[in-house]
């Protein structure tokens, strides 16, 4: 009888590294044959490879866990779904079904929310670029507009004058919460007095009224106390505004930035160990909030978490199309999806799972994507047994920022599917074809080629 085949591998032994680089027992390898009960084989058989797969169950479970972490600690909480994190309609609709309002940062995102049926008053309009027409539309439709800069204050006053009414606005702050780098390019700086000056300017103009404060201190923040410092400063400023101008703060929006269970490059502890749970964040935030507020005040606490809500619900299945050995002897694989689809590969080290048990010795390997570009490497030092062409690699978590920042570059973008709570598989974005790439192009008459010349 013939024995089962594993590819021939030879590895040099280094004392002390044997456990890490030697034989890896099957239980130590990461194998994923299915996503929410639907087999990886079946998914690729029907929808191709590469393939983005979202788990509706995980998305809803994570959302509820996060919302409950806050709503059980403070009586007036609202979540705003950060569209830029993932604005696939199905994902936004799911978040809205769960009770989230929309948080948008451009005219395009605003239009997306409205097209989904979200009324203006359930939209928070943030960001440094709000064109006049979009601003006016947002004000007319009752959106919460958080002012980013002085020019925008002027624009909003123009809108208020035109509509002949007072317009309520929020103010984006930036402040020192002990986080590096400090995001100081958005909104008005608190510590330097810039924010107070802006409030003065608003009060003097007489057409606008401040009724909310907004801030977003950064992304993938690992320290719950940073949020405590943030909200304490915001509330203190809110009371200063009441004192000085009679502005009553109805809401405090602390932005997003909670980490997902992903591994940042350069962080060696596994995410379960390195990353504080959402309850720790919720505890620090609501505790500091209650401490800062005057008795009887319960303004709305708004949270715009993106990454932490959706990242873990997303997977990318890819297939190995070639195996090579580099000049220095390193084992390398070419997968059919790369940084064109996984923009976050630039700062994440993904969890990589195989679709089957593969025997053999682990080797330090590199995974390249399909682009004919040197930057296209998804993992440059992963322990993998020797893999055959066609083996599938499943990357996670990839639900945040990839389906918005993916590139239409060199390759077509693939199908995106959702495994529903009942186990059905629905396409939520069809794979592209050449018409998607060319539709907006025009070829001037004199450049048309005759018979290919």
């Amino acid at each position: 009888m013939k024995r089962p085949y594993e590819k021939p591998v030879i590895n040099k032994l280094r004392s002390g590294l044997m456990n890490k680089f030697g034989w890896s027992p099957a239980y130590a390898r990461k194998v994923r044959t299915a996503i929410d009960g639907v087999s990886v084989d079946e998914l690729c058989g029907q929808f191709g490879s590469p393939l983005f797969v979202y788990s509706e169950r995980t998305a809803r479970r994570t959302y509820r866990q996060m919302f409950n972490a806050f709503s059980t600690r403070y009586p007036n909480v609202e979540f705003g779904w950060s569209y830029k994190t993932n604005y696939l309609q199905a994902i936004c609709a799911l978040m809205h079904q769960e009770g989230s309002i929309a948080e948008v940062v451009s005219a395009m995102e605003y239009d997306k929310a409205r097209l989904l049926g979200i009324p203006g008053e359930k939209i928070i309009f943030n960001g440094p670029h709000k064109p006049m027409a979009a601003l006016e539309k947002a004000v007319v439709e009752g959106a919460v507009v958080n002012v980013d800069n002085l020019d925008e204050i002027v624009d909003l006053e123009t809108v208020a004058k035109k509509l002949n009414r007072t317009v309520h606005v929020g103010m984006r702050l930036n402040l020192d919460a002990g986080i590096y780098p400090q995001w100081s390019r958005f909104g008005f700086n608190l510590e330097s007095g810039q924010a107070l000056d802006a409030a003065k300017r608003i009060a003097r103009g007489g057409r606008l009224k401040l009724n909310g404060l907004h801030c977003h201190i950064g992304t993938f923040i690992m320290d719950p106390q940073a949020y405590a410092r943030e909200i304490t400063k915001m509330v203190k400023f809110g009371y200063e505004l009441r004192e000085a101008f009679g502005f009553e703060m109805e809401s405090y929006d602390i932005g997003g930035g909670f980490p997902s269970k992903s591994r940042l490059k350069g962080v060696y502890l596994p995410p379960e160990v390195a990353i504080p749970g959402i309850d720790e964040f919720a505890e620090a935030i609501t505790h500091a909030f209650s401490e800062a507020l005057k008795p009887g005040d319960f303004p709305k606490l708004i949270i715009e978490s993106g990454r932490a809500v959706i990242d873990e619900a997303g997977y990318l299945i890819t297939s190995i199309v070639a195996a090579k050995r580099l000049a220095d002897g390193t084992r390398a694989y070419v997968a059919d999806g790369g940084v064109n689809l996984l923009f976050t590969a630039f700062w994440y080290k993904f969890n990589v799972e195989l679709d089957r048990e593969v025997g053999g010795i682990n080797e330090t390997s590199v995974i390249y994507g399909p682009l004919c570009m040197n930057i296209d490497a998804i993992d440059e030092g992963i322990q993998l047994p020797p893999l055959k062409r066609g083996t599938r690699l499943i990357f996670s978590p990839v639900g945040a920022y990839n389906n918005t920042q993916w590139l239409q570059f060199i390759e077509y973008r693939p199908n995106v599917v959702l495994v529903t709570e009942s186990g059905e598989v629905e396409i939520i974005r069809e794979a592209e074809d050449i018409t998607d790439i060319q539709r907006r192009e025009r070829l001037p008459k004199h450049l048309e080629l005759k018979n290919g010349k």
Partner: protein, 78 residues
Amino acid sequence: MNRLSQLALSDEGFVFDPQTGDSFQVSETGMAVLRALKEGRSDEETAQQLVADFEVSLEEARRDCTDFRGQLKNFGLA
């Protein structure tokens, strides 16, 4: 002189290089290939031996023999 012929091979999949003092760990199929090469067989013969002993196509075995030679070269063994 053939470097490969100097290597000491154990049944447990360990290889010792007396010239450098380095030790290596080799998979079962790697051992089969290494033994064949030590005996001076060609890549083609080695691939056919793999096909006779293991569940593998000749095409994949040929490819993997070439790759294995690359690994040996990388460690200065061939």
